[in-house]
């Protein structure tokens, strides 16, 4: 795990450098579209003191100065499938965003939606024997967490301390400076397929960009579309994407579980395409124009021309009723939601104090989805749109951009991860000068 620690630290350094330069790009490589936002950081607020929470929850420190989306190619299930194609698509998006921003970006923060995420809850404890908790203790207790064997072909994407407990007091956000005997921590670790990450990393590198951060798409869309009390009391964010559906559960402003269902809007489209025997592009068009999940009597009479290109008059003048279209879409959407339900049940979502479910992502725009979802997932379902951030163009404020917007928040103020804390002293190389300095610091 050491090299991951180092690579994540390197990414943090890169992010710091990008902040210093003031420009960083956000890249959401999805299955159906690639979104690129260019952020400009102007530092902390200029006209107000930075005490407490600033205006707009501290997001006024950055501004979106460039935004571009392009049709994604070569991505399946949120993973890079055809690298050349993906690279070209990334290049298109980045170039358009750069052109709009009129500035060159070198650092990019990306998110992955697929790559089979897997959540682990870890806990560790440390005997501090009546001393004051120092930062070193915190990193030590996190290092003491017993990490499960998650497989050699996987990498840790997030490892966030979710909770600290000191003796019998739990729920501490920051135990530093407090005095106790037994410090325990709960940590949430998310691992993903290393190969998928490697491929994305390689694609971004081929575009002359440096990766300054990597996040799970489910996590960042939860950050952008859940409101504060939902994050605090417990809520699940369901990001219905093109090729995969992300699920993330938040509690006490921390993500405690994330998973992804490898099904999404493109599967609905391919169902329509197969069921009606029409090209994918037409299927996508009629899905977005006429799609739905709840059929009414009116829908039987609404006929949709589905066309064709064969030259056969009968074939090219086919029509379907909207009810038929809904009849194709609904089972697939139900299947996706049921799969989500399974994941939520596995995570123990029903034990949370509040069981709010927020649907976001491009797939959440299907009319009637909230009604269907409340039947499958539970009563408290709402459709979520991402938070408004400064300078975001009108075209990019829809739910399809919730993970891109979440990435901007992630770029502006990332949560503390395991690697943001000091390396515990016993992990330094044995004869390191740093270790000697540290010993001096601790003892004098």
């Amino acid at each position: 795990m050491g090299d991951l620690y180092d690579s994540q630290r390197a990414m943090r350094q890169m992010r710091k450098a990008a902040m210093q330069r003031g420009v960083v790009a956000i890249l959401d490589v999805g299955t159906s579209k690639i979104a690129c936002l260019v952020l400009r950081f102007d530092g902390p607020e200029q006209f107000r003191s930075v005490d407490g929470v600033g205006s707009m929850a501290g997001q006024s420190q950055f501004r979106v100065i460039g935004a571009a989306t392009t049709r994604s190619r070569g991505v399946r299930f949120g993973e890079v499938d055809a690298m050349q194609e993906t690279e070209r698509a990334i290049r298109t998006a980045v170039q358009a965003a750069q052109k709009m921003a009129n500035v060159r970006v070198d650092h990019v923060i990306a998110c992955v939606s697929g790559a089979r995420p897997r959540s682990y809850g870890l806990d560790g404890s440390l005997d501090v024997s009546g001393g004051m908790i120092t930062e070193q203790d915190i990193s030590q207790v996190m290092a003491d967490c017993d990490v499960p064997d998650y497989g050699a072909d996987r990498e840790v994407l997030h490892a966030q301390p979710v909770n600290f407990a000191l003796d019998n007091r739990s729920g501490l956000a920051d135990p530093r400076g407090q005095i106790g005997h037994q410090l325990t921590t709960d940590m949430h670790m998310l691992t993903v397929d290393a190969a998928a990450i490697q491929n994305l990393f390689y694609c971004i590198k081929r575009c002359d960009l440096e990766l300054a951060g990597l996040a799970s798409s489910a996590y960042v869309s939860g950050m952008s579309s859940l409101v504060e009390d939902e994050q605090e009391l417990g809520a699940a964010c369901i990001d219905l994407g093109g090729g995969s559906t992300g699920v993330s559960i938040f509690m006490k402003k921390h993500m405690i579980y994330a998973d992804a269902v490898r099904m999404g809007g493109e599967h609905v489209t391919s169902d329509i395409s197969m069921g009606l025997q029409i090209p994918t592009a037409t299927a996508e068009r009629i899905k977005t124009f006429y799609g739905g999940v709840v059929a009414t009597g009116m829908d039987d009479r609404e006929m949709i021309e589905i066309g064709g290109d064969t030259g056969d008059w009968e074939h090219d003048r086919r029509t379907v009723s909207r009810a038929e279209l809904i009849g194709i879409m609904r089972p697939r959407v139900e299947e996706i939601l049921e799969e989500v339900r399974v994941r939520l049940d596995a995570a123990g979502f029903e034990h949370l104090p509040s069981q709010q479910i927020v649907l976001t992502g491009g797939g959440s725009q299907i009319p009637g989805l909230d009604g269907l979802a409340s039947k499958i997932l539970g009563q408290q379902v709402r459709l979520g749109r991402p938070l408004r951030v400064q300078g975001l163009p009108q075209a990019a404020i829809g739910p399809a951009f919730s993970s891109a917007v979440g990435l901007t928040l992630f770029a502006a103020n990332p949560q503390d991860e395991w690697w943001d804390f000091e390396i515990p002293a016993d992990r330094y190389p044995a004869r390191s000068l740093k270790r000697a300095v540290k010993w001096f610091k601790d003892n004098w």
Binding site: T70, N102, R104, T310
Partner: protein
């Protein structure tokens, strides 16, 4: 028969919006701030520098440019506004004027840019008779030379030549005969020209003897002799000669001393004025003393 099935042509295929790798890099390069500044500022400067250098590297181009510049300068400097037409010398008499005019060799008209007024002033001031001078290009294109001539205060006999000398001891010309400048005192002797002020003070203090004073002679570069007519001579001390001269004048007023047969009045020792009579007077006195032995005793 015409095909019923409409085939898709290559042009109908969806356009690939992706930039080529090269195009992408090129655009990123153009968005680099340093490169933008270089293109906007550096490239024009370099281009101009290259063009200018290649143009100047030809000898005939340089010569042409130089000729152009010279022409333009010439044309500007020879405008009638800048031409000096005449010369006016003020503040001096005719003799000095010709002298001054001789050292300023001028061919009029001449452009005022070609005149080195400072050098002209130096030239004029180098003349002995000129104390200082001001040279300017005045109105109506006239070169005005204002000369401040040296005022001679004494005549200095240097061998057979009579020189005019001013208060600072600087000679400003010669005269042929003493009678040319009877108003000036005559001084002579080694180092006389360095003590003009003292000589003038003595001359001014001559009072009733003024008509009889022939001149002042500096003796041994330390004291003055006043030479009167009838070959009489007053030997003054080195220190405070004016007071000694005043005593002589007083004696002369009281006893007409200098009308008598005195050759030398020696005041070198102020406490003991000494007279030397001429030979005849001395003989006569001796004769009287022999005939009237008690003459002096009776008085």
């Amino acid at each position: 028969m015409r095909s019923l099935i409409r085939r898709r042509k290559a042009a109908d295929a969806p356009h690939d919006p992706a930039p080529s790798r090269l195009g992408y890099r090129y655009q990123r390069l153009l968005l680099t701030p340093g490169f933008r500044v270089f293109v906007r500022v550096g490239v024009p400067i370099i281009l101009i520098a290259i063009i200018a250098t290649s143009w100047f590297s030809h000898e005939e181009n340089r010569a042409m440019l130089q000729a152009r510049i010279d022409d333009a300068r010439q044309g500007f400097q020879t405008r009638p506004q800048f031409m000096v037409q005449s010369m006016a010398i003020t503040g001096t008499d005719a003799a000095l004027e010709t002298e001054v005019a001789a050292v300023l060799p001028m061919v009029f008209p001449v452009s005022s840019f070609d005149l080195d007024l400072e050098a002209l002033r130096k030239q004029v001031e180098d003349l002995q008779a000129v104390k200082s001078a001001r040279v300017k290009v005045g109105e109506a294109g006239a070169l005005q030379v204002a000369v401040n001539p040296r005022v001679p205060v004494a005549l200095w006999r240097d061998g057979t030549i009579l020189r005019l000398i001013d208060a600072e001891g600087i000679q400003s010309g010669t005269v042929i005969a003493r009678s040319d400048r009877l108003d000036l005192p005559l001084i002579a002797g080694d180092g006389a020209e360095q003590n003009i002020v003292e000589a003038l003070a003595l001359h001014a203090g001559a009072g009733p003897l003024r008509d009889r004073v022939r001149g002042l002679v500096r003796m041994g570069e330390r004291r003055w002799d006043i030479v009167l007519d009838r070959d009489q001579r007053i030997l003054l001390p080195g220190e405070d000669p004016v007071a000694a001269f005043d005593r002589i004048i007083a004696l002369n007023e009281a006893q007409d001393m200098l009308k008598r047969d005195v050759v030398v009045v020696d005041m070198r020792n102020a406490n003991r004025p000494t007279l030397r009579m001429n030979e005849e007077a001395a003989l006569a006195l001796r004769r009287v003393n022999e005939t009237i032995p008690n003459n002096g005793a009776n008085e």
